[in-house]
Symmetry: C2
Subunit: 341 residues, 2 copies
Amino acid sequence: MNSDINRPRPTIREVAALSGTSIKTVSRVLNGVSTVDPALVKRVNKAIKELNYRPNVTAGNLRRVNGRTNTIGLLLKDIANPFSSELHRAIENLARERGVDVLAGSLDEQPERERDLIATLIARRVDGLIIVPTSSDHAYLQKERASGMPIVFVDRPPNNLTADTVVATNALSAQAATEHLIGNGHKRIAYVGDSQSIFTAAERFTGFKAALQKAKLKLDPSIIHHGSEGHDDVAQFIDSVFARENPPTAIFASQNFVTIAAIRALKHKGLEKKVALVGFDDLAFADLLDPGISLVTQDISAMANVASGLLFERLNGKNSKAETHEIPTIFTPRGSGEIPN
Amino acid sequence: MNSDINRPRPTIREVAALSGTSIKTVSRVLNGVSTVDPALVKRVNKAIKELNYRPNVTAGNLRRVNGRTNTIGLLLKDIANPFSSELHRAIENLARERGVDVLAGSLDEQPERERDLIATLIARRVDGLIIVPTSSDHAYLQKERASGMPIVFVDRPPNNLTADTVVATNALSAQAATEHLIGNGHKRIAYVGDSQSIFTAAERFTGFKAALQKAKLKLDPSIIHHGSEGHDDVAQFIDSVFARENPPTAIFASQNFVTIAAIRALKHKGLEKKVALVGFDDLAFADLLDPGISLVTQDISAMANVASGLLFERLNGKNSKAETHEIPTIFTPRGSGEIPN
DNA sequence: GTGAAAGCGCTAACAA
DNA sequence: TTGTTAGCGCTTTCAC
């Protein structure tokens, strides 16, 4: 059984020799060219089976006319995070339909990791790139764009680069969620979110402010917290806010982990049924908590659809100027956002 | 700016021409061979920058001595499911350290998808494969194993094939969890799990039975449910069990979504603080619920470590016979499993 | 319908 | 230290 360990894989030449024909005919059989004599096809297939021959597609791609590798690169924040992995999965499905495989990698908010990974993906000659970017300057991609490599940005737009972009309606949706709280009688609403240097955080805060302004509520900086850096940080903010006089009656949490931290902090103080809470981003257990957590969620499969659609259209030669698509979100009331003032 | 759209990428030959040297010298510079005259290195690098040249690694691999592609294939149940994506992420980190990229795909419990994906990965000449298998017959991989392709199975062992395998201590851990319930005074414990045709489900049920037997409790088939096929199915079982006389006082849920369904069903009946519950697999929100959910969780990063370790050792020539590793799990009591009888 | 020869972009072997 | 040639496994071109 171990007789052929590390024996080099058979090549098309060996298949040709065994079936008594030329490598070109074997190639024709492999590619399903119909003009080959059925008897020859049979002999070739027999030899393929006998040798356990597996064509080397990377070798073929080298000479193949359009030079495609049928591989795309996908750069995510973190493969393990739910937003990333759902996006990945949706893109996998769409790529698979087209016989395209996906090389995915995590950036962990490290710009140099973004550049490194893109470099290795280009060295592998991926046909295109879908990027949830982390860098604040994408000028380094201008030459790639110019030489025809399709690149689509998702969740966050590029900086110093014109490219197709697919984002959620961050500002609009944050405004609507805030208005939902205002509609339930809240006039003092705390905001907890990421650093405003992050595109989505800035947009969501803009929407939050717009809602207050429209309702003629004034913005109290003492109940606004940017740059949340972990559960403890959020907990500390919430603790301090509720220890003071005139605490807020509602909280808008602008992002996944911030919402979780807020839930924890409220539970810890026994306030989860007294203080209204609306969060941005999905939480798998939102409906299992008490109260259920009202959330604004991104339509990930729509985002994947539009992003892949753009990428594959570009691959098929579409040459119009870069497009930006804003994908509507989904608001699901579950109780926490409907606690009245 | 669009002047060079679709202009073919420059090759090593053009870099050689522009820098007035040979392609071999350019190749040396690219590969950091130290014996090149510094002045030449400078000229070559200048030409590379000027042309925006990017080496084509797939072309290089074709001739390169060990024939490696520095790519591994990773087959998962579903890229978007938390177990899969965490495993993926952990493997990505370990692969990255070695300059290896990961091509991942979802099998969705479809055996033919497993075979198809493996075929395309072999056609791409991945250096090795890490598989969370779905097929019940891996004889089709014997030739690949024999010809030296390292394959490591994770979470479930292969059938009709000898290969490295990394699994959790499913039976032992299920037994310990059941004994934990018994230790809290429970004598009637319901079991809810996947079809026993699934390896992990069968193992966990074996552990469950062993605990009962050791405590001299008899197994009541009317409170055992296999082949859970969705939330409704689990809910229906739990509803019916608690509608009858002599209901169980505790539940062992053998898998992720089954546990969630059980939590929902218990909440629905207002029993979540009366009936003890221990689940297998991790839930992100386990500590946010009331009561917190006591869970047996797999040590995913240990599994990834061992699996990647094995794979890369094989790639480095390790030739000993196939190994099977059982990775201990982690039990975290959070309340639901400590409800007494 | 079939095959010989060239060549994809690179590295290996061997000279110089 | 540098360059020439061959060749990785395949597809293309073009002739038969």
